[in-house]
Amino acid sequence: MMSILHHNGMKTRLQIQLEPEDYRALKSWASDYGISMSAAVRMLIRERLRHNDARNEAAKRFASAAGVLEERDDRRDVSREHDRYVYGGAE
């Protein structure tokens, strides 16, 4: 259940009722991120509903980057063995 209380020009105030389990999950999630519950709701809404031009553009750029690089030596296992390349042992 939800109700719109008022709109002050920039933001619309929305009151919603949550199941206790959802409330606890949201509170915990917001706490983990160090943000308020309102900010957490806004973040989740943006993440879930971001089917706008910006998201589509980002998705296009992401797709264009697949396979854009090429190893110039014969190593083909750098992804799986990346720890050895970053932290040592792959000289």
Binding site: D32, Y33, A59, A65, A66, V78, S79, R80, Y85
Partner: protein, 133 residues
């Protein structure tokens, strides 16, 4: 629709066309994006991936990552509280090969129940979540 945590190994395999795991990782990540799934990762992975790209392919490759990959990914910035959890995972594992970067994956995925992990790094198996491909 589950979110996908992406590890350094998967970002690298996605970008490098002749990496042994490019095919399956590229297919999986392309499908996830086209289905509208959220990709997320940790700031530790961001640092590690940029370092690996710089080291293997130069700064231009790292710049390409920032331009083309970074904007679509939800980044979980590791703070002091999260780092405590991350370090506990490393310490409890007692495994030399499990880094704080790997452990940040475990923490991130636990925060988002039901998420899957995209990685070809075997260090992330055995924590109770699905590791694909």
């Amino acid at each position: 629709m589950s979110s996908c945590y992406v590890d350094t190994s998967a970002f690298y395999a996605y970008l490098v066309r002749n990496d042994r795991f490019h095919g399956p990782v590229s297919e999986l990540m392309s499908s996830a994006v086209s289905e509208g799934r959220s990709l997320f990762s940790s700031s530790f992975v961001l640092g590690e991936t940029l370092g690996l790209l710089q080291f293997r392919h130069g700064v231009e490759a790292a710049e390409r990552f920032m331009t083309d990959i970074y904007p679509l990914v939800m980044w979980r910035w590791v703070d002091a509280k999260m780092f405590d959890d991350v370090w506990k995972i490393v310490k409890d594992s007692g495994r030399r090969s499990l880094t704080v970067v790997d452990a940040s994956a475990v923490t991130c995925i636990r925060e988002r129940a039901g998420s899957v992990c995209v990685a070809v790094d075997t260090d992330l198996k055995g924590f109770g979540f699905d590791v694909l491909p």
